[in-house]
């Protein structure tokens, strides 16, 4: 198994103001993303790579309904977020934008900087050097269908196409 994803580990209550700071909210996503998480981890935006995973404690994405909090992470290449729990609106936004978000009771076991590989369907997260994978709660099928389509917009496009066809 290739462990190509680096884990970026954050604490509890990471809020949408640090993910997508208000003063950049009218700026293009590239500008906004460059400031993603800078108030808690200044080097994050410049160092995170395509395919990396963000891990966190409880209530990730607390605060506003701004989708840019999800978009910024996606833009920077983050492919999944694993957290003890998510703030409700952030969770919905992530699903709607096709970014897998997995609840994981054992998120404390994930160390910053470790390399890992994640099977989104089963929720198994294999960490380099660990014998057993960390188990995340699998995403419900209803929501997996939206993620599998790449997000709500494509999901609806398919549905509407189906409605006209039938």
């Amino acid at each position: 198994m290739v462990m190509s994803a680096r884990i970026w580990k954050f604490g509890d209550d990471i809020d949408t103001d640090v993910l997508a700071p208000g003063r950049y909210m009218t700026a293009p996503i590239a500008t906004l993303a460059a400031h993603c998480l800078e108030n808690v981890r200044p080097e994050f935006a410049a160092s995170v790579k395509q395919g990396d995973i963000v891990a966190a404690g409880a209530n990730f994405g607390a605060g506003s309904s701004r989708e840019q909090a999800v978009e910024a992470l996606k833009y920077l290449g983050v492919v999944a977020i694993v957290a003890k729990s998510f703030a409700g609106i952030f969770y919905r936004n992530a699903i709607n934008l096709g970014l897998p978000v997995l609840e994981c009771a054992e998120a404390d076991l994930l160390a910053d900087g470790s390399m890992a590989s994640l099977d989104i369907g089963s929720g198994k997260l294999q960490i380099a050097g660990h014998a057993e994978p960390v188990e995340c709660t699998p995403i419900p099928d209803f929501l997996m269908a939206i993620i599998a389509d790449g997000g709500l917009v494509t999901h609806l496009e398919k549905r509407f196409a189906g409605e006209t066809a039938s």
Partner: protein, 426 residues
Amino acid sequence: MTAKPLTLAQKLIAKACGREVVNPSEIVIARVDLAMVHDSGGPRRVKPILDRLGRKVWDRARVVVITDHLVPAADDQSRAIQTLTRDWVASEGIDAFHDQMGICHVVLPEQGHLKPGMFVVGGDSHSPTGGAFGAYMFGIGATEMAGVLATGEIWLKVPETILIEWIGRLSEMVSAKDMMLRLCGELGLDGGKYQAVEYAGSAISALSMQERMTLANMTAELGGQVGLVAPDNITADYLHERGIDAGDTGQWRTDADAPVMARHTFDAGSLEPQVAAPHSPANAGPVGNYESIPVDVAYIGACTGAKLEDLRMAASVLRKGRLAPNVKLMVAPASRHDQKTAAEEGIMSVFENAGAEILPNACGICAGYGSSRLGENIRCISTTARNFRGRMGAASSSVYLASPYTVAASAIAGRIADPREFGGSM
């Protein structure tokens, strides 16, 4: 056969699903009675998606558009967003457009768009405010909003109910804001677990509609999906003033034997004014814990803390003193309507005489927007709902959250102060 006992949240969702009963944890599809969007998360973000889907809004009579975040437009980008918003409203034929009239969560009920029993989504995280009216209202992001606008429906996982009971009666100079800061301190930012929070008890029944709105509003900080108050005569009276018949409010309450996830009881009578220290609403404690901390700015603003009643509370304290020399007081009344009434009551002149800067009826620096943003190392005491790092300006600024009474008292004292020092209300 007796009907299965249900919570208020379940009843509201069941109605929106066209069912008799819904059960916690099942994923259901609900029909939306009303969708509210604002300028920041609204047309500029939903229009491209609707265009791509080749759809117009599903029912133009069920959409409300309110501009409040990027007003008055401070730069070209914001101006372009406002123009786009107006053009979109016109092209969709939406009548309910409230342009620069105030903050969406305050304008929505003020303009008579909410009533008990409705199922409503808002493109903003403080949308639980609508729960004060016995409506199931929650916040969603822009893509999901585009989905609602295209289809008129939304999925949700039927929540459990967390019942929060406040018994007794609030003391003088203690308000709904203090109740919510106390709850954030006690239960944490995920205490609501994205379930339905319902507020009940004698101290809740005694609250006015705008105070109930403050409660429901800050359910966002508690991490609940909705924050509900069962409608009653106070609700019906508020609606009646706006020419709306509240209908049979008695049906919208949690049945006595309905199972709930948790029940917390708090004593309103012993609640003291609360302050939440930087950088989280959960860092809350009695005002006495913070009393020597000097402040540079006192901010009375936002949907949480600048409604008519909030302005009345602040003015009742400001009447009793002068602004401390080094404090800047800013007041951004939550709506044009509330500002007008406040002016008629002589409240706006209390602020003006105190030397306050009166800001537009908009989100302003609560949204980190505009030229009044907090500068480096500024310490602010604020009636807003959130004090996350950097939200209201520079990352080095710090924000203490408190009630309008406490913010006004602190503006006079030049440090965080207990409003009860200034005696009873006038």
